[in-house]
């Protein structure tokens, strides 16, 4: 892979999507491993300081989701930003220009139904599709992973139901696969009843599409798997895919002042100054 996400000699940029079954932006090892992969994909396109933008739309732009994104990427070698469609009043953004200037666009989890409805209202879908064709990496977890497919299984209305996505990737996706048995059951039923075949992703499992062809599976936690789920004449077959393990990088070194504060706190605790 060369600069700008182009294969050497290729005329068009490689289209890349990373779909993740579920993760957080915490400091725990599997979460750090996921962030490392996101940074690597963005870096392959841009080099030193890739631009990474979160669309927290599916959550209703909660400050919690936005803050956890910045806590994961704020200190890393990248330029993180967010577009909050519910807060454009206070922070107007040139949506198209900003999104097309990114190296990676990350879509957070939440309500898939609302995500697609709000994107439609703001004409975001066409921009994301163009970004994809230009080689900007599209990524996301949960609703932010299913949105790229023709269909997904969402709990946006309470119980798990099928919902349509943008359809950049053909087929369907079900997230939190073995973590939410009722969601998996609804998916298997739906595929049996004619929903396009697709994939199941456990939390901390992911699928990476790079160009044409089959995706490669990755996993950031032992036991977390990706499954191929296919329906044929009412019968549904589910088979786990071989996955590459993503090791967690060493935690970022603590800043000196924080480390100092923690040392003092520990000493005080030992001396019985704090409860």
């Amino acid at each position: 892979m060369g600069a700008n996400g182009r294969l050497p000699g290729a005329a068009t940029p490689v289209r890349r999507i990373l779909a993740l079954g579920g993760h957080e932006f915490s400091a725990r090892p599997p979460d750090r491993a996921v962030c490392e992969l996101l940074l690597r994909l963005a870096g392959e396109r841009a080099g030193e300081r890739p631009r990474i933008c979160i669309l927290p739309t599916a959550s209703g732009d909660t400050s919690e989701q936005i803050a956890s994104f910045y806590s994961a990427f704020g200190e890393r070698s990248c330029e993180p930003s967010d577009i909050s469609l519910f807060r454009l009043g206070r922070r107007p953004v040139a949506l198209r220009d900003h999104l097309l200037a990114q190296d990676l666009i990350y879509v957070g989890g939440g309500s898939m139904l609302n995500l697609l409805a709000v994107w439609e209202a703001h004409d975001i879908a066409a921009i994301l599709s163009l970004a994809w064709r230009r080689g900007i990496v599209l990524a996301g977890q949960s609703a932010g992973a299913m949105c790229w497919f023709e269909a997904g299984i969402t709990k946006s209305s309470g119980k798990p139901l099928a919902a349509a996505g943008l359809g950049l990737l053909s087929g369907s996706l079900c997230v939190h696969y073995n973590n939410e048995p009722e969601r998996r059951a609804a998916y298997l039923d739906a595929v049996g009843e004619g929903m396009p075949s697709g994939y199941g992703l456990d939390d901390y499992a992911g699928l990476l599409w790079e160009g044409e062809g089959a995706p490669s599976a990755v996993t950031a936690r032992r036991g977390a798997r990706a499954y191929r789920v296919s329906g044929r004449e009412g019968q549904v077959a589910e088979s786990p895919l071989p996955a590459r393990f993503l090791p967690a990088p060493a935690p970022a070194a603590l800043r000196e002042d924080i480390a100092e504060f923690r040392r003092i706190k520990t000493m005080r605790k030992r001396a019985g100054w704090l409860g």
Partner: protein
């Protein structure tokens, strides 16, 4: 008991969201329900169902004077599972401010556009401020996303609407321009003013601040005619009976 007339109260701005300590507009819409302990449901959709906004609603609409609830369309696994039944059983539906574009998109995805029309027709009082005002009209001027834009609302009221209509904010100019370009006539309201419609007719303009006004805007040829509407300041003693009578509504000054 169901009221005969559908009612909408469209705030230019105000109520608990914007006027902490001034409950005049919120008291007014509660009074319209004529219920002793009205059932009030808050829809914070335009804010992305922001937690802090929901908390402020429950503080303002406390349990001693109403039966308050809210619907978060971003967290459907909590709250009522049958949206239609819950909304149709309310006396008042109160829509919060934020992004009207996002609001309308999410409502359509959950079928709230048709449920709210049904609620309105069956006599549930609908109200809201800012995005929660614009949404009821056929057309609206929104300035939420930077430069003022035209957009289509639910169309319960066959007019255009502009909120936060204070001078010097550029909205007035934009609204006039849109009207000259063919937008239908309609109503504007300043912060603290509320347009009260019975059916599709404006029955009165009320205000939580003495100086707040509502306006009627029409196009005559290529000219925009803007009229200030006589406004009742709700802070004046005896300005409004707690539950206005239909006779009072029909004789209220509308121009």
């Amino acid at each position: 008991m169901r009221k005969a007339d559908p009612q909408i109260v469209a705030f230019g701005g105000g109520g608990f969201s914007m006027e902490s300590g001034n409950p005049l507009l919120d008291d007014y819409v509660l009074g319209l329900t004529r219920a002793e302990r009205p059932r009030v449901c808050f829809l914070p959709t335009a804010s992305g169902d922001a937690d802090h906004y929901v908390v402020r609603f429950y503080r303002a609409f406390s349990a001693h004077r109403c039966e308050a609830s809210h619907i978060s369309l971003f967290r459907r696994e909590q709250g009522p599972s049958d949206l239609r039944r819950h909304l149709l059983s309310q006396d008042l539906i109160y829509v919060g401010g934020g992004s009207v574009v996002s609001l309308l998109g999410v409502w359509r995805a959950h079928g709230l556009d048709s449920i709210l029309r049904e609620a309105w027709e069956s006599g549930v009082v609908l109200c809201g401020l800012s995005a929660g005002s614009l949404c009821w009209f056929a057309e609206a001027v929104t300035g939420f996303h930077g430069a003022p834009k035209r957009l289509r609302g639910l169309g319960l009221l066959p007019f255009s609407n502009c909120v936060h209509y204070e001078r010097g904010k550029g909205r007035g100019e934009a609204y006039h321009q849109f009207l000259r370009e063919g937008m239908r006539g309609g109503y504007a309201a300043e912060d603290g003013a509320a347009l009260h419609f019975s059916g599709e007719e404006l029955s009165r303009v009320v205000a939580s601040r003495p100086e707040a006004r509502g306006y009627r805007l029409d196009v005559a040829g290529s000219r925009v005619v803007e009229m200030r509407i006589a406004t009742t300041y709700l802070g004046d003693p005896g300005a409004v009976p707690a539950a206005p009578l239909p006779e009072a509504l029909s004789t209220a000054p509308a121009a």
